[in-house]
């Protein structure tokens, strides 16, 4: 993870198009490796809940991109039932998964969660607006999904 660059997902471990699920893994930076921990909190480094939400959103976003073959860009539009059950400290290895709950016209809904060694850390229901790619964002996403080892469905 590179928190300050919003690169929240390190690698894709499984992508199952038939089940519309993705499993990913990310390692939280060490305390001295990210300025985020200088403020949250001094002497007591914890990953902010808002960044855990972003992590779940990115796993969901990659799932949607892979399922639609990068034809539309998902933008987070709603966070519902978010629960943060345990603190996340530096160097933690996060298993971040997401599944598609509903594919609507112009939007999609997912359920996402983070676990560490099988222990629930956080979870949320997320919804995304699906829109045409702005400017050169599609190329950026192509590069990013290749970097995390995701092979999208190509129609």
């Amino acid at each position: 993870m590179r928190l300050e660059y919003f690169d929240m997902i390190d690698t894709v471990t499984t992508f199952d198009p038939s089940q519309k699920r993705i499993a990913t893994r990310s390692t939280v930076p060490s305390a001295g490796a990210s300025p985020v921990f200088e403020g949250h909190f001094p002497g007591h480094p914890l990953v902010p809940g808002v960044l855990l939400t972003e992590t779940m959103a990115q796993a969901s976003g990659y799932l949607l991109l892979a399922l639609n073959g990068l034809t539309q860009m998902p933008f987070l539009m709603m966070v519902d039932k978010a629960r943060f059950r345990t603190f996340v400290e530096p160097d933690a290895v996060l298993d971040v998964s997401a599944e598609l709950i509903h594919e609507g016209s112009g939007y999609a809904a997912t359920k996402a969660k983070v676990t560490i060694d099988g222990k629930p850390i956080c979870d949320a229901d997320l919804r995304f607006r699906l829109m045409p790619f702005p400017a050169d964002m599609r190329e950026l996403m192509e590069t990013r999904i290749a970097a995390i080892g995701l092979e999208p469905v190509r129609n």
Binding site: M77, M78, H102, E103, G104, S105, G106, Y107, A109, R127
Partner: protein, 93 residues
């Protein structure tokens, strides 16, 4: 009033915090009820789930934007409910 309208009105009231008595079959979702596009996606999600359908919002929006259909055709609630009934019937057929 139809069961479909009652369900849709309930969804709109709960989703957008609009008093139920202000929602009538003649209400225009955007012009009369002030529902914005984000809130309408929220409503669409609830309608999709309630009726087991997929409202073709992208198609409707495109038709309205291109002048091929008036917005009232889809966004006045009695018309919206008719579309929902049509989609439910098509799914059953």
């Amino acid at each position: 009033m139809s069961a479909t309208f009652e369900t849709v009105a309930g969804i709109i009231s709960e989703t957008c915090d609009i008093p139920r008595e202000k929602i009538t079959p003649q209400s225009h979702a955007i012009d009369d009820l002030g529902i914005d596009s984000l809130a309408f996606l929220d409503i669409a999600f609830a309608i999709d789930k309630a009726f087991g359908i997929k409202l073709p919002l992208e198609q409707w929006t495109q038709e309205v934007n291109e002048g091929k259909a008036p917005a009232e055709q889809y966004f006045v609630l009695e018309n919206l409910c008719q579309r929902i009934d049509d989609l439910v019937a098509a799914k059953k057929a």
